[in-house]
Amino acid sequence: MSDAAPLLTLLRRIRRRLRLWMAVEGAVAGAAAGAVALAVAVIALHVAGHAVGLARPLALLAGSVAVGALVRGARRVPLASCARFADAALDRQDRVLSAFCLQGDQSPLARALVRDAVERTRSLAPGGAVTARRPKGLPALAIGALVLAAAAIAPVRSRAARLPVVTPPAAGVPLATGALDVEREEARRAAEAAARLHDDQLAALAGELQRTLRRLAAGQLSDGDALEKLSALQREVAEAAAQAARDANAFEAAKKALEGETATRGAGEVLAAEDADAARARAALGSAAAENPTETGRALSAAARGVASALGTPAEGGDKNPRRLQRESDSSDEASAADKKGDAERRLERLQRDLGDAASACRDGDPSCRSRAEKSGGDLGQMGGRGASAESLRQLERALRQMRDRLGRGEMRSGDQQAMRSFERAARGENGQPGQGGQGQQEGQQRDGQQGDGVGTGEGSGEGQGDSVAEGEQSGGGESGESGESGGKDGQDGRDGKDGKGGKGRDGKGKASGKGKDGEGAAAAQGVAMLGERNSVESTGSSAPGEGQGNGAGGPPLGKRGDMQTRGHETEARVVNGAGPNRAEVIGGAADRGFAQHGYARVFADYQAAVEDALATTAVPEGRRYVVRRYFDLIRPRTGKSTGTPR
């Protein structure tokens, strides 16, 4: 039996314990890795909407533990390593390692070494050499467990959530049924009026509105596009209404002039009739010219003046305005409107001129009196028809404006949004009471017991129903603004639209507009706060910046770091060690650049020669000579001829 046999036995026992601990560490590491992998898998499955059971994860964890333990526990452990563990347990003088390595050496000292090691390890147990310690992978295992726990409690994505989210496009959402009933009715009325009055322009505008409504209702038009469309249509209708109003004025003036003369009174009555048309007016005025040309001429002359008065100033400058508008219309959106306006004026001017010519012809006994009178009658009849459509155009324009407002506020959209707005208003206590028309000043009752005065002016419709537009606004000083209410509810035959409803509540400001059959208008109400139960606040509608000086501390004069906005971008500067180049690098770098100075090569040669002389004639240590020569070698001019400095 060898002297080292007990030592080898001990080392083998140490190796077994070492393997056991390595297996434990491998198991911990495997568990940590398995936990992290399992967490990733659980998260992925949860996102995919699959619930994870318990059996498979546990099996996976157990497998990773087993694999880790096997991998680490099966690793080769040399006995020399075990000897180092034993030495560490003794005195770290490598007695066991040396004895193990030199067990075959038969020299006296080697044998004494083995014997000494055996003696010293006699009382050493494997547990003393390989002490129980916390596995290295324990922190990783803890982290893995935390990640796994977090993944396990992460909610499983529902099946509905996994369905592709279809976001409704802004365009193409059909409107609720009945949302456009009012506008449809207006369009229908306009179309009927156009047919009755033979007004092609009104018919075209009504048709365009009907098409827009159809597309909007069918979801073929977004709100934004619809707003643009309606805006353009409204401008066009407004222009047409203005022209029609001017035609109506001119027509009225001409009609009164014709009714003023006995001979042409019949023609005037024809024109005044609701069912008057151009043909009848033409015939009536032609017959009047044939029967009494002088009186007819006088009436036509008066009609021409009436048309001229209707034209007013623009008519006098009719030759200039079109040119000015033409110049401005080169790049303006109002070019077409200006052209139309110019056409209308030119038409009236032409009518005025024709009436004047016809009057002159009749006064002068010109044979063309009758024909000219007939032409003028026809023109007046047409103008009367156009003037008759003015009201329809105004109604159409008003309907378009209200439709734009409703569409802009989203009131045409689904009832959910309206319900939500109603709920919000209710939550803020802003729900006012139904409007009451008929008086310009009302008192409003507020939910919280406060009262407010509302002063409103408005117009109500004759039918007692009108669309209202209300806006609530809260000023800075008010506690809770009360929305103004509007409602042209029951304007009784109100041509001037007296029936608005003022806003009520404190600091409320309301605007109201209503429309009716015979009246239209807008109401504005300003609510003034009165004393309430909670707070006696009387506030003005808006806050204003105060004057004077404050006594508070100001902010930092230079602002905070990073507040400065510049056009550049921030870049973090990194400096290696923060020390910059060392001396050797500075010298070497400068040498690489050749010390770009004029005449450096000549100066260097002189200095190097002097240094070599000094080195040769003085007792400079060899080591220092090396440093000096190395320095001169580094700083030698690189662009010139090599000086052959020894290294």
């Binding site: 003088q93 490598d94 390595c101 030199l102 004494a112 070494l113 000494d116 060899e622 190395r630």
Partner: protein, 344 residues
Amino acid sequence: MTAPADRVASNDVAAAAVAAFRADLDRLLAEIARRMVGQSDIAGSVASALLAGGHVLLEGVPGLGKTLLVRTLAEALELSFSRVQFTPDLMPADVLGTNLIVESAQPGETSRRFEFQRGPIFAHIVLADEINRATPKTQSALLEAMQEQSVTVGKQTYPLPPPFFVLATQNPIEMEGTYPLPEAQLDRFTFKLRVDPPGRDELHAILERTTGSEEPAVRRVLGRERLLEMRALVRQVPVARPVQDYAVRLVEATHPARSPIAEVKRFVRYGSSPRGAQSVMLAAKIEALRDGRFAPSFADIRRVALPALRHRVLLNFDGEAEGVTSDAVIAALLAQIAEVSERA
């Protein structure tokens, strides 16, 4: 095959030899400590170099007791001692000796012959004081003596009396008019030791010992024969392969071409020669014997690596310019070289 009884006997003998070595060395160091205040590490390293058959280069400012240490060592060892003050005009013959014409006056006949007059190097312990003040020519005269333990003058070689131990000193401050030792000369020294100034307590002790009326006498504790026996025992100390491999890897790592250490690659011009590894290993063996152990450990290697390698690691220009010392490079080596190789 050795019989068990003989084996036990030989084990006892070996243990006794190690114990005697330890005791003798402790007595020697204790005797030195009677006169020398402090510098116990220096004294131990000097004794180690002496037992390893090497030489020591002491570096330190004047007045730190370098010469006193050598004289005390010589007295305690009962060895011959000579001191050579190296100066720029010192010639090799002044150190080694020279042939003189000697007349022999015999009756009726007068003959003249050359007779070698031995220089101061013919001593067991030679103190080469301020060795860097001599010219390289004179410094080189020590090369053969230090390595071959012999002196050749003319065609005659004269062996030096064993044990031959050179202890050289040099002043690191006064560099003017000095000649740093060439690398070949430096490599002959087992250790290069830096002597630090004494501390406050040590200075008190120095004053008490040297300014009083009694001067501590040094007894001879070891004879020449015993010293040679101890040297022989050092050579018998076995070394485990991993420990030797650690020393080899350390020395190998001092070479910039083969070193994995960044500091070495950047700042070192030349690494240690195999003499460095020899010095490390012998010194580690002595360290083990001083501790009563039969084989050196990794810790022994680490302990002796600095004095054994610091003069064998030559810095390049970058190192010189950056003010890096060879001690720092070796410290980096010891910190980064693993005791057991990954391949082992």
